[in-house]
Symmetry: C2
């Protein structure tokens, strides 16, 4: 299967589209807003604001979420430049997704978004130029040394391909407790390979000192078979198995099928970034959000969400004809599950800075001139600066939020950290409205979320 | 009517799509190939080839034509860099059209095009990054001073809006001999205003010395009511009038309707470029191509072509329900017309170079430093250099082509010039194949075309 030509979120704006079923994605981007603001603040503090500022959102899909992160980034830049009394930079915004993405819907929503942006940010903001970039982010997508800020949310858990498996992953469509060890290992290796390729490509495309905020659907446990990440696919696998027993799907087709998906732990993300060596880690956060985002119609919403995300793959393997029945059965299973237990998605959020040289290159050449040395130092000491800055920033937020204080990794000392949910009104965003900061601040806190930050 | 949200070529790849009905556009781009090659050659000769070369195709639509001009530009750059023994630049390609364009089809065709490009140009070519840019080219679309080469074919005859008319253009949908003088004047003024805005925007976006090749569906005569440009719309107006007499369309709706289209003469194009002042004209060419491009199924093909181009506007005014009947009547009228007379589209092709300063700025500041002075000189003397270069380049082409030697403008001395049709096999391009130079050279010359070049 040529994944690049098959995988895409469900296009359009209909009831089953991703645009209408991206509440979780919306909430996660909103929750990440303070992290994005902090990264923008650091980008603009260590250097003057570039005259031409290039931002890329990788895996933007279509619908209201596609512009949400970009809006947050631009607002953060605009706040800083106003505080400093600078002229607005020109913005180049790259919206990337696979060629099968519904760019038509994305582009048709753009004029309305631009109008809203003008109203909120004023006429002295920008100009701002939007482009769509079709292609896999595991390959080069942009000119060398042009990007200042890269964002990606809930995309990097998608692998470039289903891993090459030596054994059949019988009865499963993803890693499960009953998966052979070779399957689990193949999945992990594919993630390492893909995420490394991603970092290598971005390393070539980003300017020195550029920032990247990546939110990945992951897990908190070290155990890749942990229910916290595998459960959603296990339930789909149950629905598929029911379809096999009803003779609606061939067993052979199910045996062949595995989801090209991997939910990494914070430690696994950290390891790949460090091994690749082009970026220093500024922050490593984790957060969780209930499957039932709004504690209302949960089973129905989560089923539609997974359908809008995975139907292209499933229909390619099992045919379009059985999709309605499959997702009806899935809905029943999900409803039963969430009535009995608390179910959550777990996100790993990593903020990185492009180093002057890859750590391997530093070791190889053995010399650094003054400028490079200064940059490498500033990258590696970034965390320390950031901690003190972050503590200051926290003062405004503490009352609004709550945290979990469990320790995610025995080697990492967890310190308390809280995140507000930035854009606030997801329903407004789904109506195609983009809230101003004032309006967003009035919104109540979202339920069902917790956040923690790792020391790194 | 908000034109930007209504006008678009018919999307998809079906029988009625623009992708399947763009033979004229295809032929015109092919004919322009030597002009594009020459402009690329001048761009790369006066300076070293930039490490990052940014190309924009404005009004790309979708289908095979969307990549044809860009391919020609990249091939021309690659030829020069190979001759000079340079490394390939990185290419950034911007494919622009209105937000209603079918970018999904465009992007889904991209992987196949990239494969073909790799085969033809080799692995040491590029890398080459493609982006889609939704928006009107009468506004800013790109960052300041980033574009090296701009191409647009058969788009600039579309105005940004229907001109504000003081009188009803009774019985017509475009300029006609029976149009009131105020209507003709309003159309001309709208063209001047729009084309000026286009040049101002590109002037901000292009680097000094950047080249632009613009092919506009125009006319040869000084008379804007000349049949050579108005005929195709007069026949559509006849079909619409028939629909009114059959009670299928309200007369009032027809009276209100005018096409936002203007076919300029070479002299009018020249005048706007000179008045705007940011660009110097290197060449001003004209060519003509039969309505019946392949002298086969002419009426059917031209009707489908115009339908794929104008249906979005017509359906918006008269409703989708009457479109089939309207175009059936139009087909009958076209068939009758081309059986009795030779009917041709006329193109104006202008090649310009971005000057160091706008001529008005030179006059205003009254001083030029050495560098600026050198650049302005080189721009204004570009034509002289180009003529001698072009005569050399002609040697390979003379045997293949033919010319018309009529004088288009009493003030312009016409010299003989011939153009080959570049990519050659439009049918292959319509199958989604992209010919190599060797293959293209084997193709027979296209029938029904003539070309002339104006001294300027």
């Amino acid at each position: 299967m040529e994944l690049i030509s098959v995988l895409h979120m469900k296009g359009g704006i209909g009831d089953s589209s991703y645009a209408s079923n991206s509440l979780v994605g919306n909430k996660v981007i909103s929750m990440t807003r303070p992290i994005i603001e902090e990264a923008v603040s650091n980008l603009c503090r260590n250097a003057t604001i570039p005259e031409k500022l290039c931002i890329a959102d990788l895996g933007c899909a279509s619908g209201p979420n596609a512009f949400l992160a970009v809006l947050g980034i631009m607002k953060a830049v605009d706040k800083i430049r106003k505080q400093g009394g600078f002229q607005s930079p020109e913005f180049q915004v790259y919206l990337n997704d696979l060629p099968g993405n519904d760019f038509n819907t994305l582009f048709r929503d753009l004029p309305q978004f631009q109008e809203s942006m003008k109203e909120q940010l004023g006429l002295d903001f920008g100009p701002c130029f939007f482009t769509g970039v079709p292609g896999s982010f595991y390959c080069r997508l942009f000119l060398s040394k042009t990007l200042h800020f890269v964002h990606s949310s809930y995309c990097l858990q998608w692998l470039s391909q289903v891993p090459q498996l030596e054994e059949v992953n019988k009865g499963n469509i993803y890693i499960a407790t009953t998966s052979p060890p070779s399957v689990i290992s193949a999945y992990h290796q594919q993630f390492q390979k893909d995420f490394t390729a991603f970092l290598q490509c971005r390393s070539e495309e980003m300017v020195k000192g550029g920032r990247m905020v990546l939110t990945i659907l992951g897990r908190k446990s070290d155990d890749p078979t942990s229910k916290e990440c595998c459960h959603i696919w296990e339930l789909l696998s149950m629905a598929l198995t029911d379809m096999v027993s009803q003779g609606l799907i061939e067993e052979k087709r199910l045996d062949e099928f595995n989801i090209p998906h991997y939910n990494p732990s914070p430690g696994e993300v950290k390891q790949v970034v460090e091994n690749e060596g082009s970026f220093s880690i500024d922050r490593l956060d984790a957060s969780q959000v209930n499957w039932d985002v709004y504690e209302n119609d949960g089973a129905y919403n989560i089923t539609k969400c997974i359908r809008s995300v995975a139907e292209s793959l499933l229909a390619n393997q099992f045919g379009h004809a059985v999709m309605d029945k499959l997702f009806q059965r899935y809905l029943e299973i999900i409803a039963d599950t969430i009535s009995k237990e608390t179910t959550q998605f777990f996100s790993v959020i990593v903020t990185v800075t492009k180093s002057a040289l890859r750590l391997q290159e530093v070791a190889h050449f053995g010399i650094l001139n003054h400028q490079q040395s200064a940059n490498v130092e500033s990258s590696s000491s970034g965390v320390k600066n950031l901690l003190s800055e972050f503590n200051d920033a926290d003062e405004d937020l503490n009352e609004k939020d709550h945290i979990d204080d469990y320790i995610l990794d025995p080697d990492n000392q967890v310190y308390e950290n809280v995140l507000s949910d930035g854009e606030g009104d997801e329903e407004a965003a789904h109506r195609g409205e983009y809230l101003s900061d004032d309006e967003a601040d009035k919104e109540p806190q979202l339920p069902g979320t917790t956040n923690i930050n790792f020391s790194i």
